[in-house]
């Protein structure tokens, strides 16, 4: 058993619902320090919600989430904002500020949170952009970037303050194979070079199995499978196998629950 200090994020028996709809029912997962942890699951299961819960943007109904040993839901607003400087999130859309150049976007967190001089900021921004291969695009506006470039620019902004934790929300969604390869490489290299801890939320199975150190698969408001890539591949859970192999029908049914087709078409005759 590893001690608690080896985990950066620890979700304990957490419950969360939106209105009537239960999103998580007593879910527990742990994110080891310095590793890439993948969270997989079908669309619409609330994977983004999980990241927002870890980021303190949403408050769980029950259970606890700790970040480096401190409970996030219990934090004061000030403590939460302080801790958020140590975490970073890469949004699905990139969420670059559309009224600023790529350079200013990456410089933004530095200008907000540090008192560094402009010349030092320019150096740091150039280094971060170099790391994602976009130093040449520093003066472009976000609207001029392709989807993959926008995500890389957002990644440069996410690592600007050298965070401890970086959360990727569907980093591979809608990317062409080349951008996908670039992102896979960046996530792995940044994690190891900057000694980060990464959480990757995704449903792109093949990409994740190549980079993740530990994988959680979510469905039905809870964790249905966990382990290393090898353990997951060898899992005997039908649900996990359906997900990995992309079968259309299985424990997750093809049909959204509906009344019987015959009954619907022929009236209530039988």
């Amino acid at each position: 058993m590893q001690s608690n200090m080896d985990y950066l994020v620890d979700v304990k028996n957490m419950t969360f619902s939106r209105g009537e709809r239960v999103i998580y029912d007593g879910i527990s997962l742990r994110v080891p320090k310095g590793k890439i942890t993948a969270v997989m699951g079908p669309s619409g299961i609330g994977k983004t919600t999980l990241l927002k819960l870890i980021g303190g943007q949403l408050i769980p109904d029950g259970g606890d989430i700790t970040f480096d040993g401190e409970s996030i839901p219990a934090m004061s607003r000030k403590a939460l904002y302080h801790n958020r400087r140590r975490m970073s999130m890469l949004f699905q859309s990139g969420a670059l500020f559309t009224d600023m150049t790529v350079f200013d976007n990456v410089a933004f967190p530095l200008r907000e949170h540090t008192k560094l001089s402009e010349s030092i900021i320019a150096t740091i921004v150039a280094l971060k952009l170099q790391a994602v291969g976009l130093r040449g695009a520093a003066q472009m506006m976000p609207s001029e970037l392709s989807g993959g470039m926008a995500r890389r620019a957002a990644l440069a902004r996410a690592i600007a303050l050298d965070p401890d934790l970086i959360m990727y929300d569907e980093p591979f969604a809608g990317q062409d194979p080349i951008s996908m390869g670039v992102l896979v490489k960046l996530i792995r290299e940044l994690n190891d070079a900057l000694n980060l801890t990464s959480i990757v939320v995704t449903h792109d199975v093949t990409e994740v199995l190549t980079i993740a150190d530990y994988i959680y698969i979510l469905a039905d408001q809870r964790v249905i499978g966990e382990g290393t890539a090898e353990q997951i591949k060898g899992s005997d859970s039908e649900l996990v196998q359906q997900f990995l192999q992309g079968k259309a029908d299985g424990p997750v049914p093809f049909h959204y629950p509906a009344d019987d087709l015959r009954a619907a078409f022929l009236g209530e005759s039988d």
């Binding site: 980021g55 943007q57 949004f91 859309s93 969420a95 907000e112």
Partner: protein, 258 residues
């Protein structure tokens, strides 16, 4: 029973929305002010103020011209065309300046504020600010609010001034009212506190209401294309109604009891 349930639910939703709007404004205004916000406010002042100048000046000019034309045809029957100056000036300073400016502001700047903040929400820019430990209320909402509060009274005064000049153009230059009486009777009739300052107070109240509605509707919008279009429409409709309703209340308070 359904009807009662629905009424109750709608009422609760409205009350909750008012609460959220209040909290948002409170969060934006009473968070520790930061020097970094001053350039942001100036930039917003340019967007909501300077960029609204064209529509304000053109509308002011034509409203002044129309009033002089209408006023002249009525006043001249009584040989009172000398009172054209105060008529134009008083209607503009007391009523038309603040009210029409607020309505135009809601359509020109308010809708833009709602759509901008709504789209920032839809594209996760607000969330990403929060995750970067930057409070979007202070960074996005507060500068826009202050810019609206500063810009609107100035726009209303410009509107009135241009309207008075438009009245002069039609009344004096085209219809032959004596220039001396246009200005001197206006000067003698218009009272600084009662007319000018009250007009400014009115437009400060309208600025608060219109800007508040605009930023709240954007901040509280459902982040989809449909939700944002709905929020933008609501901004214009709600602020226009609020301005017209409040105008009556304010007029009654300011001029009703002599």
């Amino acid at each position: 029973m359904n009807w009662i349930q629905q009424t109750g639910r709608h009422t609760l939703e409205r009350v909750a929305a008012c609460g959220r709007a209040g909290l948002m404004l409170f969060g934006a205004l009473f968070a520790a002010p930061s020097l970094k916000n001053i350039p942001l406010t100036i930039r917003q002042l340019y967007v909501v103020g300077v960029q609204s100048l064209a529509i304000i000046i053109v509308s002011g000019l034509f409203i002044g011209m129309v009033m002089a034309l209408q006023g002249y045809t009525i006043l001249t029957d009584y040989g009172a065309e000398g009172s054209l100056g105060p008529m134009v000036a008083l209607s503009l300073l007391r009523e038309l300046g603040p009210v029409v400016t607020a309505l135009l502001f809601a359509g020109r700047a308010g809708s833009a504020l709602t759509a901008e903040i709504g789209l920032m929400k839809a594209t996760e820019q607000l969330s990403s600010l929060e995750m970067m430990a930057v409070d979007p209320l202070r960074r996005v909402v507060a500068p826009r609010f202050w810019a609206g509060m500063i810009a609107m009274p100035m726009l209303a005064l410009i509107f009135s001034a241009v309207g008075i000049l438009g009245g002069h153009l039609v009344g004096v230059d085209w219809l032959g009212v004596d220039a001396g009486s246009y200005w001197s009777i206006m000067q003698a009739t218009v009272d600084w506190d009662k007319d000018v300052i009250n007009g400014v107070i009115k437009s400060l109240v309208f600025a608060l209401v219109v800007t508040w509605i605009a930023i709240f509707k954007g901040y509280d919008s459902i982040p989809t294309s449909e939700g944002i279009s709905q929020a933008t429409t609501q901004t214009v409709v709600f602020s226009s109604l609020a301005v017209l309703g409040l105008d009556f209340v304010l007029t009654a308070l300011m001029f009703g009891i002599e």
